[in-house]
């Protein structure tokens, strides 16, 4: 079976949100609906070393859309079947079937399903499958000025970059088996970390 995925280089990402906005522009999304979201995870403290204090402040960014998971939490709960995994591996909402129960967004631990109040149903990153079918790259990936995003068959990405998909504030990758590979920032904290917080809750 075919399966595409994203490579996310958190060591390069500066949190500029060009990906988030280029997607919004391309998909014509309203305020509050973000198919790709850039999470800023931040923390740190004062450390006493002898007579001096040093700070250990850190923050890093993670650009997350939908991970088109192998075991999607969203499709498992959807009562209408609108949220489904396609032959090509993309997890897509059939907007003509969705009843707008928001159950998928309650279940997805990545915040990917985005409810559209006006349409009365769920919307979500579709992996730009129409572009991919024509051999093009997803809009978000092509727009990144830091070249921190890559897209392709997940097997190839894993061969190139390894298999890590765990970092705070993401949940453990064992639950939904997301098709992403993450290169960690030097400040990266593990998945179950409690030392930091989400620094930009209103932006995601």
């Amino acid at each position: 079976m075919k399966q595409y995925g994203f490579y996310i280089d958190s060591s390069k990402c500066t949190g500029c949100k060009t990906c988030q906005l280029s997607c919004k522009d391309n998909k014509d999304l309203d305020i509050g609906v973000n198919f790709r979201r850039v999470y800023e995870y931040a923390g740190g403290d004062w450390l006493k070393e002898g007579e001096i204090y040093r700070q250990s402040v850190y923050s890093y960014y993670l650009s997350i859309a939908c991970n088109h998971c192998d075991q999607p939490a969203c499709t498992k709960v959807c009562p209408s079947g609108a949220m489904h995994k396609r032959e090509d591996g993309f997890v897509v909402v059939d907007e003509k079937t969705c009843i707008g129960c928001k159950y998928c967004s309650m279940a997805c631990p990545y915040g990917a399903p985005q409810y559209n109040e006006e349409k009365g149903h769920m919307t979500k990153c579709d992996g730009c499958f129409e572009r991919v079918e024509q051999g093009m790259q997803p809009v978000c990936v092509g727009s990144c000025p830091l070249r921190a995003l890559e897209f392709g068959p997940i097997a190839q990405l894993r061969e190139k970059y390894g298999t890590n998909a765990d970092v705070a504030p993401l949940p453990s990758s064992l639950t939904t088996k997301p098709n992403i590979v993450i290169k960690q920032n030097r400040n990266a904290r593990p998945t179950d970390d409690q030392s930091g917080h989400l620094a930009n809750p209103k932006e995601v």
């Binding site: 999470y39 995870y41 939490a73 498992k76 709960v77 959807c78 009562p79 209408s80 079947g81 609108a82 079937t97 969705c98 009843i99 707008g100 129960c101 928001k102 159950y103 309650m106 279940a107 997805c108 631990p109 990545y110 915040g111 409810y115 109040e117 349409k119 009365g120 149903h121 769920m122 705070a168 504030p169 993401l170 949940p171 453990s172 639950t175 939904t176 904290r189 998945t191 179950d192 970390d193 409690q194 930091g196 917080h197 989400l198 995601v204």
Partner: protein, 280 residues
């Protein structure tokens, strides 16, 4: 607190109240302890049970962004517990309602009606099971635990038993004064209080990297106090006839039920308000 989830709060509490009381009244009707006249009066009173259930279903559609497509909710029967819940809920409504209609019109043999009643009771139990399973989502740690079935079943007992007794009283049944109902209600209330304390303690152990369960609802203590006070007030009214050895009256039990219902409604609001995922 999740007031915006009022459609789901209403739907779940109303459904649990209806099924809980239906199981009690159905058991009583099957046991043959009621005279024919009592049965007739009880059937009339059971109109209110179906009114509550109907109201619940109406409220549930208000939760949908596209209510006109509500039928699609049945597409995944078998694989999605939400589909299963709607399926068995509708089936309960249909089977129970059909039994009620036959009884009201005095159609069908008593055997057929009893079979239908028993079937509706069974379906009601499956409906309640499905409703619990809907919320046991492995990515939602604040729901995916033992407190969800406890909370839901306790609503069936607290609100359901009280409503059953209210209907029995309205139907002037001899069983209306039965001690068992308020005593079971009191036991349920004690269990409910203990479970609430345990759950509130347990919240401190549920964290994601960006959400601490214990901090999601900031006026939690107030809400729990109001909820507990309402429950105890309802219980006091419910128990008064037992203490004064009077017959319970609808004038007493109706306000008791309203208090109990609001208490469970607030508890359900807390439940929905506690939603979080293992991620962000």
């Amino acid at each position: 607190m999740a007031w915006h989830e009022w459609p789901l709060m209403l739907f779940t509490v109303l459904a649990q109240t209806s099924v809980g009381s239906f199981l009690v009244l159905g058991g009583l009707l099957l046991s043959g302890q009621l005279s024919l006249n009592e049965e007739n009066r009880l059937h009339k009173a059971m109109f209110f049970l179906w009114a509550l259930m109907g109201l619940g279903f109406m409220a549930s559609t208000a939760h949908l962004g596209s209510p006109l497509r509500a039928m699609n909710a049945l597409n995944q029967v078998g694989s999605s517990w939400l589909s299963n819940e709607i399926f068995f809920g509708s089936l309960f409504f249909a089977a129970g309602g059909f039994y009620w209609l036959l009884s009201m019109l005095n159609k069908g043999t008593p055997q057929v009606r009893k079979m239908l009643l028993a079937a509706a009771m069974l379906i009601g139990i499956v409906f309640m099971y499905a409703m619990i399973k809907v919320y046991l989502i492995d990515t939602v740690p604040t729901w995916n635990n033992i407190f969800t079935p406890f909370g839901f079943i306790l609503t069936m007992l607290l609100s359901g038993l009280l409503f059953a007794q209210l209907l029995l009283t309205g139907a002037q049944s001899k069983q209306a004064g039965h001690k068992l109902l308020p005593v079971a209600g009191a036991i349920a209330a004690v269990v409910s209080l203990v479970v609430t304390v345990l759950q509130m303690t347990d919240l401190s152990s549920i964290n994601s990297a960006v959400t601490a369960a214990a901090g999601i609802i900031d006026n939690m203590q107030q809400l729990q106090l109001i909820r507990g006070a309402l429950m105890l007030a309802a219980l006091a009214l419910w128990f008064k006839p037992l203490i004064t050895s009077d017959k319970p009256t609808t004038l007493l039990l109706a306000p008791a039920f309203v208090l109990m219902f609001v208490s469970e409604f607030i508890a359900r609001g807390i439940f929905y308000g506690l939603h979080m995922t293992t991620g962000m």
